[in-house]
């Protein structure tokens, strides 16, 4: 007898338990159930993530800016409301307006609100001042970073009353209306940006 036969004789009685297959079948059925449950769980998780995500988007859309960004006298506000302005203010140049008389003017990245020279400009929402600078186009301008990637920019200011790094509450004065930079009159150019992409601020007024 060869070695192979001897080893075979020594090990041939080592066998899987009689009920091995029954138990495997029991488990595979369970596994199929488990798989179905797993798929259901994955689907449920996906739905939940989507739901939470859309709530997040909804919440982001819920970001609001105050229309109290210009300290006008009560009479003025009354006046402009009657004129059908937005946020209680007259708009001289709306969002995404393209000047037909200026070549490559590009779309207007903000909204212009005419006001008297020296009218206090207030932070439209609380946040942290990112930039206080002069620039030939915007003139003196201030950028404030808010929550959820939003930021506001206030341009053509006569004076600035904030410094980069300041934490400001909504309603804090950050400057006064002027016509610095590319401006032909006294107005506030207000921009709202989401992740530094301009969005229409009038849609975000409280």
């Amino acid at each position: 007898m060869g070695d192979k036969d001897m080893i075979r004789k020594a090990f041939e009685c080592v066998k899987a338990p009689e009920d091995t297959l029954q138990r495997v079948h029991g488990k595979t059925e369970n596994r199929r159930g488990f798989r179905a449950k797993k798929h259901a769980a994955i689907a449920l998780a996906a739905v939940l993530i989507l739901a939470i995500g859309s709530i997040g988007v909804y919440a982001a859309k819920q970001f609001r800016i105050s229309n109290q960004f210009l300290e006008l006298s009560g009479g003025d506000v009354q006046n402009v409301e009657q004129q059908g302005g937005s946020g209680g203010f007259v708009i001289s140049c709306p969002f995404e307006y393209e000047n037909p008389y200026v070549e490559d003017s590009g779309k207007h990245t903000g909204v212009d609100f005419p006001a008297e020279e020296g009218t206090p400009v207030l932070a439209a929402a609380s946040g942290k001042v990112r930039t206080v600078e002069f620039e030939p186009f915007y003139g003196n301008y201030v950028i404030i970073d808010h929550e959820d990637g939003y930021s506001t920019l206030y341009a053509h200011l006569k004076t600035t009353d904030a410094a980069a790094g300041d934490e400001v509450e909504a309603g804090t004065q950050i400057g006064t209306v002027g016509r610095t930079g590319m401006a032909t009159g006294f107005f506030l150019h207000l921009e709202l940006r989401l992740d530094d992409e301009p969005v229409d601020p009038t849609e975000y007024f409280e």
Partner: protein
């Protein structure tokens, strides 16, 4: 995936091979039983298209070795008496029980090599692939195992 009939045929035919290899590797009935269950469940669920029964057999041997290795990495292992198990087996002759005990007394890589080589008839190169060991190592371990089993084995192979 295999249909139920195909699965049953393969499982029925190879469950003992799987258990035997697992037992020789792990020295524990309970662990070998776990491995057998896992291997058969993998067979049930695999997307592998088996070209032939031989292909399925090789696949099973490979998966068994892998499952055993996986189990050996576990920090807690069961320790069972080989003799107690041997006493429950019905050997044709007392000498076979001695050979069984002697093989089970080898170190674990030698045990699986001996089983794959002598019992399952795999060649050294194939064993190297199944166990992910170099061919030279398999050869060396096999000849050492043979030397240790000299008393029980007669033939030079």
């Amino acid at each position: 995936m295999l249909n139920t009939t195909e699965f049953n045929v393969l499982a029925e035919k190879y469950k003992d091979m799987v258990f035997r290899l697992a037992y020789s590797y792990l020295k524990s009935q309970a662990d070998a039983d776990d491995v057998t269950q896992n291997v058969l469940i993998s067979l049930y669920r695999t997307d592998t298209e088996f070209e032939s029964e031989l292909h399925a057999r090789n696949w099973l041997a490979k998966v068994t070795v892998n499952e055993c290795k996986k189990l050996l990495r576990r920090p807690f292992r069961r320790h069972e008496s080989i003799e107690a198990y041997a006493d429950t087996l019905k050997f044709e002759d007392k000498s076979y029980q001695e050979l069984f005990t002697a093989v089970m007394g080898l170190e674990k890589s030698m045990r699986i090599i001996v089983l794959l080589y002598y019992y399952e008839g795999y060649r050294i190169k194939e064993i190297a692939e199944l166990t992910s060991m170099p061919v030279g190592t398999v050869g060396t371990k096999l000849s050492r195992a043979r030397a240790q089993l000299k008393k029980y084995l007669k033939e030079e192979v």
